[in-house]
Symmetry: C2
Subunit: 324 residues, 2 copies
């Protein structure tokens, strides 16, 4: 199997944690190639480094940076996939520039109107809920959302082994009359079976259903999806902080909190974004995994595993077949 | 002061908990009048009952039910406000029908394009964040959102005593170039100061900012706002359930959990929707408080207090002045 191209320069903790994670992935049997400036990378061990002398910063304009920084690690990583030198790419860097690199260098998958970001939302006790689009397209049409349903369904099947993923359309009520015009139009297409027999459309779902076992794939436009993602992030952070603060109210609470930590750890572990392995850009002609900006070495290992498994499973071919 | 008209028939726990709450509110010095079918109401004590023989169910179509059930408790409560017999109305019933009753019977406030639902999101340790529109208008224009900024600002000042509420526009990035076309257009209007000098626009905010002290009023369209509200609801429920489940893992955790409960209670209390007193429909010619469907007597007391205080403070006049 080809190696996964890891953008060594992308992420708040790059390059150290990224290089460390890449080495750990290789030690775990996942083939990896680093992409970055060899002069800036230390402790790369036995890993091959594809040289790329430029870096796209976290806050740079996505389109402009990808057009002008042709020797950046992000662009080179996407080219490695395009040229058949890597099975997929992983970056914890600038999300917009990662999408733009993948789109411009690998190209869109034949038949796909717009690629979408599929983000797994952890649901302890069961498989994560796949939310898409989590931010690639701030404005969407119903036809695009129909494809998101097809691609999300394929992805949930490939990544989580769900035979028949339940696909819900995010709205503000279960009835088909609820929602904005985009949702109503998309509902009509999905209810009419236009996504094909492989999409098990269960109707509208609401925000409160995302973190439950009621649905496997939640389809929405990239604006709403990104707002939901960040709302969940803020809410979980808030809840964790509140629980930890309650441990500090007095000595008895402190002792009880210490006793409870082992019981809380599996939950915290399940909710940790480092565990989920990152989001995947669906609809480009290659595997592109977007790891969160503060990715640790552990997050990187998980992201490489997601990319490697998707490549091994032939995710891109499965997506192409689903939208054709 | 005129009494607050309480829809005795609305809500999952009506009429018993609603009547009980109305009596408790009266005992606390808040003037109340019940609206409902006297034959179906028990234990009303000394409370006056405005007779209304019909009931609008929780799942009935909002527009149709309000048009056809002219003797419903919801319609009669709105009429009591319109006719100067009540200072405001409170209902824990069908949200859509509550909005429709208020809109059709009280009318829109002069100059207001569309009323919006303002929902307080609890933020323990500081004042709640006011989210609007939380679901009245699934589709919005930038001009409406501009008015939501004005009305939300007035409301945060009246209800929480915030001298200069910080108003943020919900988007998917802080930069003004981020968001969908509605957000970009609204951002331009707000940044241009078109909401007037009383609106302190701090720019775009993200979902993760809602439950923090970074912003006082979050402006968004009713689709996104309702999705956010239900996402937060699901997330908080999930977090609480996960913490409680961690108390059950073994005997030591059970003992520690019992010891921690007193420290967790203030947090649970702050997050309990019964505490916040309900959402307010801003932009109609009267006070209309929407309490959540599962409201207990305690929730009802708090909702009546919100309505009474808003009436005493002259909220409707303040809103009219802000949008004119």
């Amino acid at each position: 199997m080809l190696p996964v191209a890891v953008d060594a320069m992308g992420g708040d903790r790059a390059p150290d944690q990224i290089v460390l994670g890449a080495r750990q992935a290789a030690e775990a049997g996942l083939p990896v190639v680093l992409v970055g400036d060899p002069d800036l990378l230390a402790d790369t061990g036995d890993l091959e480094v594809l040289p790329a002398r430029e870096v796209i910063g976290m806050d740079e304009d996505a389109g402009r940076s990808v057009r002008t920084k042709k020797d950046s690690s992000l662009v080179r990583a996407a080219e490695a996939v395009r040229d058949g030198r890597a099975s997929g790419m992983v970056s914890a860097g600038n999300t917009g520039a990662t999408m733009a690199s993948a789109l411009l260098r690998m190209g869109r998958l034949r038949g796909v109107a717009r690629p979408a970001i599929a983000t797994p939302i952890p649901v302890p006790g069961t498989t994560p809920t796949v939310l898409l689009d989590a931010g690639a397209n701030a404005e969407c049409s119903a036809a695009w959302l129909l494809q998101f349903a097809q691609m999300g369904s394929v992805f949930a099947r490939q990544r989580y082994g769900i035979a028949q993923p339940r696909v819900g359309l995010l709205s503000i009520g279960e009835e088909e009359t609820k929602g904005n015009s985009l949702v109503k139009e998309t509902h009509a297409l999905l209810a009419d079976g236009q996504a094909g027999g492989d999409v098990d459309f269960i109707g509208n779902v609401e925000g409160r259903d995302i973190m439950t076992d009621a649905v496997d794939v939640v389809v929405t436009d990239g604006f709403t999806g990104n707002v939901v993602l960040k709302t969940l992030e803020g809410c979980m952070r808030f809840a964790m902080r509140s629980v930890l603060a309650s441990f500090e109210t007095n000595d008895e609470a402190r002792a009880a909190g210490a006793a409870l930590l082992p019981s809380l750890l599996p939950f915290a572990e399940a909710m940790d974004p480092d565990t989920t392995g990152g989001a995947v850009l669906l609809g480009v002609s290659g595997i592109c995994v977007i790891s969160h900006g503060s990715s640790s070495a552990r997050a990187l290992v998980n992201a490489v595993r997601v990319a490697h498994t998707a490549a091994t499973d032939g995710l891109v071919g499965l997506l192409a077949a689903a939208v054709s």
